[in-house]
Symmetry: C2
Subunit: 382 residues, 2 copies
Amino acid sequence: MYAFTYHNPVRILFGKGMIAKMAPHIPAGARVLLTYGGGSIKTNGVYEQVSAALKERSVLEFGGIEPNPRYETLMQAVELARREKIDFLLAVGGGSVLDGSKFISAAVPYRHADPWELLSKHAKIKTAIPLAAVLTLPATGSEMNSVAVISRESTRQKLAFGSPLLFPLFSVLDPETTLSLSPRQTANGVVDAYAHVLEQYLTFPNQAALQERQAEAILLTLLQEGPRVMAVPESYEHRANIMWCATQALNGVIGCGVPQDWATHGIGHELTALHGLDHAQTLAVVFPALLRHQRVQKMEKLIQYGARIWGLEESESSVEQAIDKTEAFFRSLGVKTRLHEYGIDDRDFHSIGRILEERDGRIGERKDIGAAEVEAILRLCA
Amino acid sequence: MYAFTYHNPVRILFGKGMIAKMAPHIPAGARVLLTYGGGSIKTNGVYEQVSAALKERSVLEFGGIEPNPRYETLMQAVELARREKIDFLLAVGGGSVLDGSKFISAAVPYRHADPWELLSKHAKIKTAIPLAAVLTLPATGSEMNSVAVISRESTRQKLAFGSPLLFPLFSVLDPETTLSLSPRQTANGVVDAYAHVLEQYLTFPNQAALQERQAEAILLTLLQEGPRVMAVPESYEHRANIMWCATQALNGVIGCGVPQDWATHGIGHELTALHGLDHAQTLAVVFPALLRHQRVQKMEKLIQYGARIWGLEESESSVEQAIDKTEAFFRSLGVKTRLHEYGIDDRDFHSIGRILEERDGRIGERKDIGAAEVEAILRLCA
């Protein structure tokens, strides 16, 4: 096991009715900016619950943060927050609203230059506006971590950044707020959480026995609860299990002291930036292909994955079957796993590889995935 | 799943060499009291590493905190800390030193009355001296939680207390510091961690699918790594896995939103208070007996435990075997599981039951264990 540091100060308020209990955790006298997305919170009862909880507070609103939140949109919120001297952000929505709000949080005090530098140059974040979240779409884990991914329309970029200053002060996770999610949103969330675990698990063994079991715990739960929540979307209990899985998948615990991959996310972000695929769709497409391409390097963990997750024989001959079953699981949720099913041909495969290697160098847990390998992986996604 | 709140702000510095990296996390100008136990840190190199890390700091020392730390001893440290205007505690040792230091932390500012009230009356803790830990004996989980158990020699009591103010600011977990632990200390730690998981797992199902899997992850890892660390005590990797298991067993994660038992701990504390057994010895004795006594109430989870942990058939007929295997696991580590093996007869069984019910009422996850049931459980431990 590698040496590591772990610190996650996010307070979680989980369960039915918890929105009503969040107000004491917002500083007295705060000037709050409530951020949200396309407006579904105004039709599903969440907005009313949040408004009731904040009734004694000074609150402004900024709506319209889109999926794959855009720099261009978020800078409007930054200007509003600066003008109105906002000193607390309450993000109400899914991972995009949360990630977008993390950008606003860091960008508002970043006045001496273009806040895009926070992403493009990984400029150091020295101060940020405190933020909290009411999560309504379990998927990204943003509610209990300190990173965010932001897109820029004008340059077709999708980049990540992070800082310990961007941990939410608290996050409310009420599974009832997720009962009205569409099948597509629900399935995407399951795939996203599953992929987050795989990125931290399907690498090479380093004797981190507990972290492996903890990762497997989330995978097994998603495999059990994913189909159930698709079949019975009105079930509070299944929604609750999925919600907690998504948080635990990317709050740092299973990543303690282990090698991590994240190449699938890197490639996937480019597919979203260029072709507008949902984030989870890109993961469902790229992960099986990446595992096939990297099967030799990942052999030991793939064998373990096949045995412990899929009940397969503990041998190399089971590995292709484990990958096939993974792809079939994504498809069973209704998420397509091949690029041609999304109408995408091979014309950008070469340039995606070049863009990634130029920006990030070689990626993957062994740093052995460069431009040529990305292109080869994309061909396996076709 | 029940609604819950979760907040654990402890910073973990895990791995070889991490003691040297802790100083920046201690406030500048702090007047530090270094607390420790019987002095093993002065022979195993830990004291030198801590001293080197603190070389620029103002540090006093208080040694001699015993296993099952005593109020009488700790009050001497409280007086020293008050006299010397200590404003930071650094506990270096195992769970007893950490728990004792939590008491010192809360007792120093509790000046208007006897700090024993913090335990006997659960007096509210409004302020506490910040503390941090260098853990040298993985077992209790105290390094990443906010509770402590303190004994009082004069009254033969062993009581628990806690407060969010008692989370360590940081805890250093360097598995190298545990390489010199005796077989008895090592085995006790494994049993303690295993029992902490069982207290939060072997209750009744409430559809907390992930938490169950997370608990099982720790049990499976302890079953794998426990025998290995006993066989190869000089192995950094096995020590590291055991250390991280013990922390994760009682940092709140697996207890989120689930019923909890803790009757075994309650009964065990009385056996320690009256007869001086090691804490883990009491757990190894009481847990199998308690499971046998409560097998009907715990049936569903016992069947799951038998199947998922011991690979038994998923049926009621496997339950006794699952309990037998649990007891055999404790014995395989060298921890005896019957009271007569510790020279304890049945004379206190009746009074232990009475003391517990008078103080805590009926205990267990269903509050169905009173004086008579405690006595019956103790008879099964004979």
